[in-house]
Amino acid sequence: MNWLLDLTPDEWNAVRLSIKVATVAMVASLPPGILIALVLARGQFWGKALLNGLVHLPLILPPVVIGYLLLLSFGRRGPVGAFLAERFGIVFSFRWTGAALACAVMGFPLMVRAIRLSIEAVDRRIEAAAGTLGANPLWVFGTITLPLILPGLITGAILSFAKAMGEFGATITFVSNIPNETQTLPSAIYTFTQVPGGDAGALRLTLISIAISMAALVASEVLARRVGRRMDIE
């Protein structure tokens, strides 16, 4: 145990940073994730296939390629990056925010798919019943649909979180590997694997990463079970 937790300050920082990045990535992708899942599950519009494809890109392409694409668009000189930096002072390059962005993007298809699946399983007649009681579509969504898709939201969130804990290729390509700022656990692990004899260090960090993710998983399961027990099937 001592051996496991006897980390260097940089490693501790990597642990902290990874949790922060994964949490922010998960939380920040929830609103757009729900929105896009909703649109994909229920919308009927031209370009739906395109949107769907776009959402899946991070899954389809090697992470390094996604990292380059992020660099090209959200980097200091990238069109989006330059615009955001100028107008809102939001800078991604070499910041932990950039790591969170990369993780969010990589986890996005997983989250959207899970939420979409839940939305498609919702009995729309129940929503209709809420509508007749005077709830406008937004209220129906908030009070009926959202609670009913909670299992999907939890699944989507945990997938996104887990993915963020393991994401490496896109992150290091986009924001490199700066201790204390962008060096997440996977980057630290990677470094160890590239050094002859680094296996023990890699193993230690790997175990810590597993422990954190497992805790998140178990928490999500417990949460989902609670939600499920509350709902059952009617």
């Binding site: 390059s93 290729g169 490199s176 700066i178 002859p196």
Partner: protein, 238 residues
């Protein structure tokens, strides 16, 4: 055809352009074109350790070759220091930075608010050489907080060519071929351990063409092709 009856070469990814050309040129001499698997030296070394059917391994640094020879996985006597390289300081091509690389030069000032991109100095060979050079020039401590360590030297180059990083330390071979960057200076050969690409045949290798391939790698025509990509040839051409 099964992988095992081919001549299989594991090579560091950064050698692809040069090695592909050499492979074509050598095919006639060797009898067949080798099948080359390009990946990070670290991955390749561990794969060989894990029983990969490689006949020849070309590493981007000595450490991983030593890792294998320590485990008696390289054929004794087959190991050769094949190529050398240089590391250079690069900047985005529209950068106005100018400098002479010498002891105590103001690298931190040149970087300014920006970052110095280089390979991960613990993991990536080019990063290790870069760190050694900066240390011997006495500027390491002043730039340590301004590093952007990349997964590999190509990624570091990308950071510079997209102007994410103000400066970068990369191989001369990469810098020459990248139009998005300009070379500010070359680190002195003596500021870092020699950059060496060793090659060896594997203990388990049974392919009869392997020696011929090793020989051809060291031939003059191969040397020309390596030089064309910016490598220095360390073996005396016969």
């Amino acid at each position: 055809a099964h992988a095992d009856d081919r001549l299989i070469v594991f090579a560091a990814a950064s050698m692809k352009n040069a090695l592909d050309a050499v492979n074509t040129a050598c095919a006639a001499d060797v009898g067949e074109a080798a099948t080359i698997s390009y990946a990070a030296s670290s991955a390749l070394a561990k794969q060989i350790e894990g029983g990969a059917p490689a006949d020849v391994f070309i590493s981007a640094d000595l450490d991983w070759m030593n890792y294998l020879s320590d485990k008696k996985l390289t054929k004794p006597g087959s190991e050769v220091k094949l190529l050398g390289n240089q590391i250079v300081l690069v900047a985005p091509k529209d950068s106005t930075v100018e400098a002479r690389i010498e002891k105590g030069f103001d690298l931190a000032g040149l970087i300014g608010d920006g970052r110095l991109a280089m390979g991960d100095f613990k993991a990536v060979p080019a990063g290790k050489y870069g760190k050694a050079a900066l240390e011997s020039l006495g500027v390491w401590s002043s730039v340590q907080g301004k590093l952007a360590q990349a997964e590999n030297v190509r990624a570091a180059l990308k950071l510079v060519s997209t102007s994410e990083a103000a400066l970068g330390i990369v191989y001369a071979t990469d810098a020459h071929a990248e139009p998005g960057v300009k070379v500010i200076g070359t680190f002195p050969q003596d500021s870092h351990p020699p950059i060496v690409y060793p090659v060896a045949q594997m203990t388990d290798s049974k392919d009869k063409d392997a020696p011929a391939f090793l020989k051809c790698l060291q031939s003059a025509k191969a040397g020309e092709l390596f030089k064309a990509q910016g490598f220095t040839v360390l073996t005396p051409s016969n």
